[in-house]
Symmetry: C2
């Protein structure tokens, strides 16, 4: 029924972090895979079954147009680009989005990184899912709307959390310390989330309705109106969700 | 000069998480240590050199009063209680504050947890520092003002980050997913901070001035005014610090 071969010939198109990590992970998993430059497409096998476009969001449409007629299936690897930008470039197209963040020089373990898959038809979704499943234990179907939600959620959970550490760093630097002292506590905070939901794991003055401490903190921030507002809003929202989760005792 | 013995007789006073973890860590390090109930003080050796009070903040003063005349040095283990609450209960007193968060059943590795120490005099600070150094590689002097800053910083970096994951969880639950999908990304976010400062590690739409995505996210939050304000404030603050750190390119 499914006309894609069990071991499709894959080309990773791009030269950045995502491209090189994907290529390494697929090679390691024994896939028939090559990596090609997105501008020249030099070395792209004429028999390519699946081309995975791993370039900056802005360049996806252009690279897809260049790939027209050169692969049976084309997929991009972006969390925030609709699948439809690919629709004129191949008979089958989709999204192959690994949710990750990179650090130069730090090896990524793909096995627990979730892949979010969308296909222009069921067979294409299946093919992309099977490729993802060869390198990750977590493969999830996700259309554009779901990817938008995932992206918004990851901005809150990861981008904004990182900035909260930057704020902590600023506070500590005023007294000759820095954020590194907080890393063990931060690691423990994330570790707790393996066994407790974030609502269950919540600690701190807002969670225990310690208004004395909250007021003292707000006083300490009196010269920092933005930080003060962030402190007040997040504390108020912790108190709100505490009520909704029935945590009063 | 220093009249405290090289191996002081230590009593951990309390029966909660902090008390039992401290007792275990000190025992493991070969200290001469016992653990006693904070209400009865049953089994407290009459020759106790250092009593470490590991009870809830509200109970510290009461337990200290009960210990009067029963230990050479008394210290509490709280990040947000002034040392002075102990001043009438022993000739020497101080603070022995391990910055940590607990999960029931999860063993703590104290070696990288920072201890913040204050003493009523230099010898007392030395004694408490030496005890801390027997179980941790990170022992730092911290008076009340410094502990206040540390607590405020940890509320931003840990308590508020945990709540951001709760917000992400709420967003994902609306589409049948949950925060667990974000854990690999979150672990990677913390891991990056081992090699990059939070300012250097910052990614996401605000960091790259992607106003198109930010506006779309704000639209998605139009029915959630508090989340929208949190999104706007944190994004604005990322853009501000980006400018201050000279990250424009």
């Amino acid at each position: 029924m499914n006309q894609i071969k069990p071991s499709p010939k894959i080309a990773v198109v791009g030269s950045g972090n995502v491209a090189s990590h994907l290529f390494k992970a697929l090679s390691k998993a024994g896939a028939d895979v090559c990596i090609v430059n997105s501008r020249t497409l030099e070395g792209l096998p004429s028999s390519t079954d699946v081309a995975l476009i791993a370039v900056k969001d802005m360049a996806i449409a252009e690279v897809a147009a260049r790939l027209k007629g050169k692969a049976g299936t084309i997929a991009h690897t972006s969390g925030s680009t609709p699948m439809e930008v690919l629709k004129d470039s191949a008979p089958a197209y989709g999204v192959f989005y690994p949710m990750q963040t990179f650090t130069k020089g730090v090896e990524l373990d793909y096995s627990d990184i979730p892949f979010f898959i969308e296909g222009s038809d069921t067979a294409t979704a299946d093919t992309l899912s099977r490729i993802a499943a060869s390198i990750s234990d977590s493969v999830v179907a996700a259309d554009s709307e779901r990817r938008r939600l995932l992206h918004l959620a990851s901005v809150f959970a990861c981008n904004f959390s990182n900035h909260l550490v930057a704020i902590a760093d600023e506070i500590l630097k005023g007294d000759g310390m820095d954020y590194r002292m907080l890393l063990p506590l931060l690691r423990q905070t994330v570790k707790k989330l393996e066994t407790l939901s974030p609502a269950e794991a919540q600690t701190g003055p807002a969670a225990r309705l310690d208004f004395k401490i909250m007021n003292r903190h707000i006083e300490m921030l009196q010269d920092r109106p933005v930080l003060r507002e962030i402190y007040e809003d997040l504390s108020a929202d912790i108190i709100r969700s505490r009520g909704e989760n029935g945590a009063e005792s």
